[in-house]
């Protein structure tokens, strides 16, 4: 599983729009020591260029950009939103959970996301994250210890 530190988990956040939501996930990555602030702008640029395809399941956005010098180590963050935000996806809006993902190289990512797929193949996982009230509840969804 990709590294997820307590600092990378922000619950019940408020975002005015999808950009703010993505920047929250970037702030969590930064707090976790995974990526630098510029990574957030790069994640936003992906959506500006390609659309809301990062909203890969109902209520869930997987914010990410390509590997780069602003990625310190591979890892992830979890942000939950008090009020869901519209990203502009044809099927999966609105978004309550934003996973921030940063990888140092494309190979890292394959094993990491395989495990992420395991977590979310459980259809209840997104709801359980969206309603989590503590870091421990988030960790229970990912079934990873600190």
């Amino acid at each position: 599983m990709l590294a997820l530190s307590d600092a990378g988990i922000l619950l019940g956040q408020t975002a005015d729009d999808w950009r703010a939501a993505v920047l929250l996930s970037a702030a969590a990555l930064e707090a976790a020591g995974v990526a630098e602030a510029s990574y957030g702008e790069r994640m936003i640029a992906m959506v500006e260029e390609f659309g809301a395809y990062i909203v890969i399941a109902p209520g869930l956005a997987l914010a990410h950009a390509r590997p780069g010098p602003d990625v310190r180590e591979s890892g992830m963050s979890v942000v939950t939103l008090a009020e869901p935000v519209v990203f502009g996806h044809p099927y999966n809006d609105p978004v309550s959970v934003v996973i921030g993902l940063a990888v140092t190289n494309a190979d890292d990512h394959v094993s990491g996301v395989a495990e992420l797929a395991n977590v979310f193949n459980d259809a209840t996982a997104i709801d359980r994250l969206a309603t989590a009230r503590s870091v421990a509840e988030v960790r229970a969804v990912f079934d990873v210890s600190a």
Binding site: M46, E49, F50, G51, A52, Y53, I54, I56, A57, P58, L60, L62, H64, A65, R66, P67, H89, P90, Y91, N92, L101, V103, A106, H109, V110, V113, A114, L116, A117, F120, N121, A123
Partner: protein, 90 residues
Amino acid sequence: MKIVAICGAGVGTSGILKVNAERALARLDIEAEVTATDIQSVAVAAADAQVILTSPEFVERLGKTNADVIVVQNYFDVDELTAKLEVALG
């Protein structure tokens, strides 16, 4: 059989699509090579692919292709992927 999963960066969403497509193919008992790539590389990566898996945003960017294009709504729904792959490959 070659299947290509497309996303914007070639890391992240296409990787998830690849993993779950492999699960769907296992259910269908179909052997295929699934690769993940980004939209810029699609012309090369998908030149000899039978199936392209992607999200609605990328369909228009794919350009001309002989592959079956499968548009995936929920990347984590292996049932959806299985049903759509079965239609495309059946």
